[in-house]
């Protein structure tokens, strides 16, 4: 059923959604890096069959327009698919190999900003029509026995066997310079499986059967960012609300992995944004475990997305106060008799400017529509729908 809030949520989405062209620009960026790394004349990585692909919100289709800054975070993986294993290389060697090529790439492409080393990735800044900072994670495929362990763990924690196996196929071993054995040969690398996470996320989106059936014929042929499912929309809204609430404390904000995971778990296949958001906001807290792992990674249940909470109690406090605030603000958007509260909340908490007269109009027209559909409408002598005058007879608009 239509509500004022539904219309407001659509407007919020419109204000924070990114154009398809941003996704296409991102695609162009990582394809270019991928092509370059595969060129044996230029890149050392080329002999190890490098595969560069998106991870994170660009992969999931949950990117929100950056709040009060210009650049998009583009998370990428650079997986060397052949010739390097945990037995032949250290994490450091892999990191350095990829880094050296990226530095050469940077110079060839005339990128001014320095290549920056992070704990788990290389950061490259790129600017043409859009500004990106690209975090590129060097990786190799995870060993077969490790993949089997991951798959079993997922099945134990309730994932369907087929999905668990599919997901585990994509597991990678990734580097981390904080790892005690970063510079020596070890079989014990960190596991990264963002592609598997994306598959799990897609399985959650697919619950929206009705939506997907109505929306498009062949979802399978389209990248996730073109699906625009209620779940993706919800996560965009949640992230924007978080970004605004923690504008002055970006390091204290609940991380996207936690928000995305809890939202995807709570989601129950609702085909419209408002009821999806309602379900998610209501149930998110029930998916936070009382003990470790508090927010397990669905594709690697031993990994805790909330592993930093015990180290800094502020982080957990921030999460709960964010959720509380979100509940209040979501309720405020439903005060259809208080247009000012709605527009203020939309602007102050979600960053969307809403046309006040439109909200007012819906406030007047909706009750009329409800009366008509329930058979309670009458037509007043000036021809408007109201509670007095000629009784409206049942009929169906044709066509």
């Amino acid at each position: 059923m239509l509500s004022t809030r539904r219309v407001v949520l659509d407007d919020i989405i419109e204000s924070l959604d990114v154009p398809i062209s941003a996704y296409e620009a991102a695609e162009k960026r990582y394809m270019d890096i991928g092509d370059w790394l595969n060129d044996a004349m230029k890149a050392k990585c080329a002999s190890f069959s490098p595969h560069v692909f998106t991870q994170g919100s660009f992969r999931l289709g949950t990117v929100t327009r950056p709040w009060k800054r210009e650049d998009y975070d583009l998370d990428l993986a650079c997986k060397l698919q052949e010739g390097i294993t945990k037995l032949t290389s250290t994490q450091e060697e892999l990191k350095v190999l990829v880094g050296a090529d990226l530095e050469k790439y940077r110079q060839e492409r005339g990128i001014q900003e320095e290549l920056e080393e992070k704990h788990r990735c290389w950061r490259l800044y790129y600017q043409d029509d859009l500004q990106f900072h690209m975090d590129i994670v060097p990786a190799i495929p995870e060993a077969t026995d490790q993949r089997r362990v991951l798959s079993e763990r997922m099945i134990e924690s309730g994932t369907e066997a087929v999905l668990a196996r599919d997901v585990a196929e994509h597991a990678m071993a990734v580097t981390d310079d904080r790892h005690p054995k970063y510079a020596v040969i070890t079989l014990n690398w960190q596991v990264g499986n963002q592609e598997g996470y994306a598959l799990w996320f897609e399985s959650r989106m697919r619950q929206a059967q009705k939506f997907l059936e109505e929306k498009m014929a062949k979802v399978d042929d389209l990248p996730a960012y073109r699906w625009k499912t209620p779940l993706q929309r919800c996560i965009q809204i949640l992230k924007r609300h978080r970004d605004m609430m923690f504008e002055d404390d970006p390091d204290g904000k609940p991380i996207s992995a936690i928000i995305t995971t809890l939202a995807a778990r709570s989601y129950n296949g609702e085909s419209d944004l408002e009821s999806a958001l309602s379900t998610i906001i209501e149930n998110m807290d029930s998916f936070v475990n009382p003990s470790k792992p508090r927010v397990p990674n669905p594709v690697n249940p031993h990994e805790d997305f909330a592993d930093k909470w015990p180290l800094d109690t502020k982080l957990e406090r921030n999460f709960w106060s964010w959720l509380e605030q979100l509940k209040n603000d979501f309720a405020s958007l439903n005060q259809s008799d208080n247009v000012q509260l709605i527009t203020e909340t939309a602007l102050g908490k979600f960053g969307a400017k809403i046309d006040e007269s439109k909200i007012q109009k819906i406030g007047v027209l909706l009750p009329k529509a409800v009366a008509i559909n329930s058979g309670a409408a009458r037509t007043t002598s000036n021809g408007t729908i109201g509670t007095t005058g000629v009784e409206n007879r049942p009929h169906k608009f044709y066509g």
């Binding site: 014929a217 529509a369 409408a377 002598s381 729908i385 409206n392 007879r393 608009f397 066509g399």
Partner: protein, 167 residues
């Protein structure tokens, strides 16, 4: 125009004359009487509407403003005797679209003519005008949401068929 109208009228007359001269006269009287009663009822219940009877047509015009802040809709009902009433929005100009139940000629599709066909017994002030008032409410909401929120016959079926064919 006048000539055309006359010719049209003549054809109708001839078709009835073939049956019985008396019947034709009677039908004419019926139409006049029926339309005078209709004109009276419409203007009584909706003082903002003005009706006139012209060459076997009942023409009603009025303005409806569905709510404060919305457009005012100028409505014209053209009801030819032994035919069905045609309802047009003369202002604002609206591009016909079946999504909001407007036929290609700009007339509104207010009822399901197969399930509940028009009958001369139906009175404009009890049907067409209240239904037009409803149409305006749903059209205004359509402009905001892009969705038709009223009951609709066939609409969903049509959509499904359309989708099935474009797959």
């Amino acid at each position: 125009m006048a000539l055309l109208g006359l010719q049209g009228w003549r054809i109708v007359r001839i078709s009835f004359m073939a049956k019985s001269k008396y019947h034709t006269f009677n039908t004419n009287a019926q139409s006049k009487g029926h339309f005078i009663a209709e004109k009276f009822r419409v203007e009584q219940h909706f003082p903002g509407f003005r009706c006139e009877i012209k060459r076997n047509h009942l023409l009603c015009q009025g303005v409806i403003t569905p709510a404060e802040g919305c457009d005012s809709y100028h409505i014209k009902i053209d009801y030819a005797f032994l035919s069905i009433p045609l309802i047009y929005i003369t202002n604002p100009k609206i591009t016909p679209n079946i999504e909001y139940h407007m036929y290609g000629d700009g007339s509104l599709c207010l009822y399901d003519h197969r399930e509940a066909p028009w009958s001369a017994k139906l009175m404009l002030h009890e049907t067409i005008i209240p239904w037009t008032a409803e149409w305006i409410v749903f059209y205004e909401l359509w402009k905001i949401t892009g969705e038709w929120l009223g009951s609709a016959a066939l609409h969903d079926v049509n959509k499904k068929i359309l989708e099935a064919n474009t797959r």
